[in-house]
C-alpha cells in the first residue's frame, strides 16, 4: 500500500518523525514500506482496505521506548494508532480509524510480570497472547484456568480492553482487569487504583482507587497507552460439569433466556452462557456451497432439512458449572429441573476432573483456540465477517424481540442468519455474524446497507452496539445521543485535557480530539 500521510503532516516532517522514531526504538522496529503498510491493513475490511491506511508502524519494546515514541509523536504531530497484537478481527484488526496514523504496535511487550496462583491473577503486558499465557500456566503447572475468546492468538489485554467476552465465570474480560499502568498523551506514566502508591501490594487486587476509579476509562479508549495491567484468573476448579441441550425452534430462545437468567443471577450458573444458532455449528462442518449452492440466504425449508440431517437444534445450549463435585451435582439438579419444565429431552452430562485432558475446542475450559474463526470461510473467496453486536436485557421478551427484528432485516437482505446470545449477567451480548466475500462488490455493498439498517433499527428500539468496526465507529457513537451527545462531549473534553495534540488513536470509538475534529464522519464504511 502506498504512503498516506496523516492530516496536516508534511512529507518532510513525516520523514523527520520516522528518523526520530528509528533513533528511539531502533531502525528495525519502524516499518514504513508498502509491504509493511499492507501487513497492518484490515484483512477483513468491508471493501478496499485502503480506506483505513496506516502510514507505517512502530514497535517499542519497553515503557521508556513508548514514552519516547509519544514524545516524538507530540513533537511532529504524528498521530498514533495503538494496537496490542492487532487481532481485532471483524472490528478493523490493526488498521487505524484515521488514515495516515502510525500504528503503535505493542506486540513486542510480552513480559508476564506476575503470575500468582494463590490469589489468581497476573500482571502482563499488551503483547502477551492467550496462547502465551496458557503455555506459561501449563509450563509452571499452575492451578489456574483462563477465560478465552474465539480467537486465541489475540492479546489478553487487548481483548479485555475492547470488551471481549469468554465463556467461563470470568467471561466478562474487562471485569477481570484490575490496576493499569498507562502512558498518557503527554508522556506521563500513571498507575491507576492503589498502584498510584509506589509498590502497593494490593494494586492488582482491589478494584477501586483512593479517589475516582479510572481503570475502564482506558477501555475502548484513546485516552492512554496501556503498558501493563493486572488481570484476575480463575483458580482451576476441581471438577467441571457440562450440560448440553439442543433447542429445536428459533422462538424457543424466549423461554431459554427466561430459564437461564434466574439461574445466572441466583448463583447457580456462574459462567457467561453462550447460545449460538445452528449456523455456528455448520461453519465448522464445511463451506456454504457444500450445503446450498445458490446465491442468497439459505431458505427456511433447506435450514430445516440441514438441522434434521445433522441432528442439530436451532440453538445449542452448553452450560458449565465449575468447582467442588458435590456442589456441581447439586447445581446440575437445579438446572435440569428448570429445563424439564419446558422440554422433555434430557441434558447430556459431561464431567471433567482436574488432570483430565482438554482439547482445542474446549474454550469453556479456558483452552485457547482459533477454530471459531473458521466461520470466515463460510462464503468462500477472500472471506471476512462483520459482527453486529447490540446489548439486550436478559429477558425472553426483549431477546425474542431483537431476534425477530434482526432476523427479518438480515433475511430481507438475503444474507444467512447466524446469531448468538451470551448471557453475561443481567444482559445478553447479541452477536450477529455477517459473512461475506470481500472481493464481491455486490456482497460488500449489500453488507454495508444491511449493517446500517441493523444499527438504525436497534437505535429506534432502544438498543446500542457494544463494539463496532472502524467504518461504523462514528455512526454508532451518533446513536448515543442523550442530551445532544453529552457523554461524547464530556469524553472529548477529557481527551483534549490529557492529550492536547490529539496524537493517541484519534477517532477511536467516535472520540475525536479537537486537533483532528475535522476528520469526524470521514473514512466511513
Amino acid at each position: 500500500m502506498k504512503l498516506t500521510l496523516p492530516p496536516g503532516l508534511s512529507p518532510q516532517n513525516f520523514d523527520a518523525a520516522v528518523k526520530a522514531l528509528q533513533g528511539a526504538v531502533g531502525a528495525d522496529w519502524v516499518m514504513t514500506s508498502d509491504a509493511d503498510r499492507d501487513a497492518y491493513a484490515d484483512i477483513y475490511a468491508p471493501g478496499p482496505e485502503d480506506v483505513w491506511p496506516a502510514s507505517g508502524a512502530v514497535a517499542p519494546h519497553t515503557v521508556e521506548e513508548i514514552q519516547a515514541v509519544v514524545k516524538i509523536a507530540n513533537q511532529y504531530k504524528l498521530p498514533l494508532w495503538t494496537v496490542a497484537r492487532g487481532k481485532n478481527l471483524g472490528y478493523g484488526t490493526s488498521a487505524p480509524r484515521m488514515p495516515g496514523c502510525m500504528v503503535l504496535d505493542l506486540g513486542r511487550m510480552k513480559t508476564i510480570h506476575t503470575l500468582d496462583a494463590e490469589l489468581g491473577y497476573c500482571v502482563i503486558e499488551p503483547g502477551v497472547g492467550f496462547i502465551d499465557l496458557y503455555e506459561e500456566i501449563q509450563r509452571r503447572k499452575l492451578p489456574l484456568m483462563m477465560s478465552v475468546p474465539g480467537n486465541g492468538w489475540g492479546s489478553v489485554l487487548g481483548n479485555a480492553l475492547d470488551h471481549g467476552i469468554g465463556y467461563t465465570p470470568y467471561g466478562l474480560h474487562a471485569k477481570n482487569l484490575c490496576g493499569f499502568e498507562v502512558v498518557l498523551g503527554n508522556g506521563d506514566l500513571v498507575r491507576t487504583g492503589l498502584g498510584a502508591m509506589e509498590n502497593n501490594h494490593a494494586w492488582n487486587l482491589f478494584p477501586f482507587g483512593y479517589g475516582p476509579t479510572w481503570d475502564l476509562m482506558f477501555s475502548q479508549s484513546n485516552l492512554g497507552v496501556v503498558t501493563k495491567a493486572g488481570m484476575w484468573i480463575m483458580p482451576e476448579p476441581e471438577t467441571s460439569l457440562e450440560l448440553n441441550l439442543d433447542i429445536p425452534e428459533a422462538e424457543d430462545i424466549g423461554w431459554v433466556i427466561d430459564t437461564l437468567t434466574p439461574l445466572k443471577l441466583g448463583g447457580i450458573i456462574d459462567q457467561s452462557i453462550f447460545i449460538p444458532s445452528w449456523l455456528g455449528k455448520m461453519v465448522i462442518k464445511g463451506q456454504r456451497k457444500d450445503f446450498w449452492d445458490k446465491p442468497g440466504a439459505i431458505p427456511e425449508w433447506r435450514v430445516k432439512e440441514l438441522l434434521k440431517q445433522y441432528k442439530l437444534g436451532y440453538w445449542k445450549v452448553q452450560i458449565r458449572v465449575y468447582g467442588d463435585e458435590n456442589v456441581n451435582k447439586a447445581k446440575a439438579e437445579v438446572i435440569k429441573a428448570a429445563f424439564r419444565k419446558h422440554i422433555a429431552t434430557p441434558m447430556e452430562e459431561v464431567w471433567w476432573r482436574r488432570g483430565d485432558p482438554t482439547n482445542v475446542m474446549d474454550t469453556t475450559l479456558g483452552v485457547p483456540s482459533a477454530i471459531p474463526l473458521q466461520m470466515g470461510d463460510w462464503v468462500g473467496g477472500r472471506a471476512a465477517h462483520l459482527g453486529f453486536s447490540p446489548v439486550i436485557p436478559a429477558t425472553g421478551q426483549q431477546v425474542l424481540g431483537q431476534l425477530k427484528r434482526s432476523r427479518k432485516i438480515i433475511s430481507d437482505h438475503d444474507v444467512d442468519f447466524y446469531a448468538s446470545f451470551t448471557i453475561g449477567g443481567r444482559f445478553c451480548n447479541n452477536v450477529n455474524m455477517l459473512m461475506y466475500d470481500r472481493d464481491n462488490q455486490a456482497q460488500v455493498d449489500n453488507m454495508k446497507k444491511l449493517f446500517n439498517a441493523l444499527i438504525a433499527d436497534a437505535k429506534a428500539n432502544g438498543y446500542g452496539e457494544y463494539r463496532t468496526h472502524l467504518g461504523w465507529m462514528d455512526p454508532v457513537m451518533e446513536t448515543y445521543d442523550f442530551q445532544n451527545n453529552a457523554l461524547r462531549r464530556m469524553t472529548e473534553k477529557v481527551k483534549d485535557a490529557l492529550d492536547p495534540n490529539g496524537i493517541l488513536s484519534p477517532g477511536k470509538q467516535g472520540i475525536w480530539p479537537t486537533a483532528y475534529a475535522s476528520q469526524r464522519g470521514k473514512a466511513l464504511a
Copy 2:
C-alpha cells in the same frame, strides 16, 4: 456556628448567591443560619467541628434544580460540597473539606425510579436511604435481598459512591453500581454507559459503555453530581445457611484468611466475609467503663478475662451461603472440612428459609440496622470514632503482618484495639476502629498522632487507605506517590477540564481544582 465564607467570595456576593439559590429552589431550602450550619457540621470531628465549617446548605428537589444551583455556583464562584444524606460517619458526615463551601444536600432526591425483581436492580436517587429502599421492597413483597452497611439510615448511592461495604454476595457496593446520571461542573447532564443513548433498555444492566467506561470516575469523586444511578440487588435466595465459629487467638487470623480466601475465589463463599475482633461484640454489651475503669488501653490480661467471661473468641467468623438448599448443604461441607483442618470446634449452623422472620441485627440478610454504630458510645462522653482502613491482599502472611504492626502502634498509643477484616475478593478491607471522646483534648491529640503514625506505617510497608476522614484526605492522597503523584495530576487535569471554576466539592479525596489549589494542605486534622 458563625458564617465562614469560602476563599475569595465577598459577603456581598455570598448574599447575592444565596438570593439566587432561593429563587432556584425556594427560600425554605437554602439554609444559612448559625443553627443550620451546626446541623451540617461533623458530629464526629476529631476536635472542634469548626475546622470544616459549611457556609450553609442548599437542598434541591429535582435534576433541573441541581442544574440551576450549579449554574448559580459557577456565576458567583460559590463552591459546593455534595452529600447524599450526609451520614458518612467517621469520615466527615456532611461537613465540607474546604471551609465555607455550601453543602449541596441531595437528601430530598428520594425517588425510586425503577425497582425490578426480574433482573434484580433499581434506579434510584441519592436521597434514598437503605431503610427507604428496604421498606419499599417489603411493601411490594419483592423477592430481593439488599446488601447493607453498619449504618442503615445512610444513602444507598452515597455509601456505594464512597466505596462502602456490606456482608452479602453484593457486599462490594460500588461494584453493584451500573449506569449514572450526572450533572457536571458546567451544568451539562450526562448519562454513562449505554445510558448515553436516550431510552436505552440496558443502561443499568450492562457495566460498560461504548467507548471509555466512566461510572466509577464519579465515585469518591468531585467530578460531578450524581443525580440517579442503577444499582444491582441480589435476588432473594430460597435459603441461607450461617456457619459461626469463634476463633481463639489473635494470631489465628493468618490461617483463617488462608482458609477463607480459596473458598471465596473458588466460588464456595460468595459473600464479603466480615471478621471482627472481640471488641466488636463487646461494644454492644456496654460501655468501656463497665469492663475496665482505668484510663489507657485495656491490658491483655483483662482482655483474656473478658473473653473467658463472655465466651468470646478473639475473632468471630460468620460465614453465610445463599441459594438452593442442596447447593448450600454441599457448600457447607466444603467449608466445614476446610476449618476442621485447623480447629476441632464444630461450626454452629443456623438456617434461614424464605419467609422466615429476620431481626434488626441481620445485616448479612440485608436488613438495615444502626446497631453497629453503638461502638460510638464505647468511651463515653461526646463519643466518636475514626476508621483507619488500609487494603491488604487476602493472604494470611500479609494480613498477619498488618495486624501485628497496627496493633503495636495502637497499643503504643494506649488505645483499645478493635480491628476487622472483610474479605471482598483477592483483598481485605482492614478497618481499625478508633473510639474517642471528642471533648477530651488529650484523647483527641493522641488520636491524631496515632492516625498519622498508622498512615505512615502502612505507606512504608506498601499499603494504602481506601477511604479517610476530611482531615486526612490530603495526607492520604500524598501517599499515592507513584511518579511524583502522577495519578493525582491526571485527575486534577480532568477536574479542571470538566469544572473550570472548581465549584464541585474542592479537595474531596485530595483532588483540588486550580481555582482552589492554594487550599491544599490547609484545614487538616
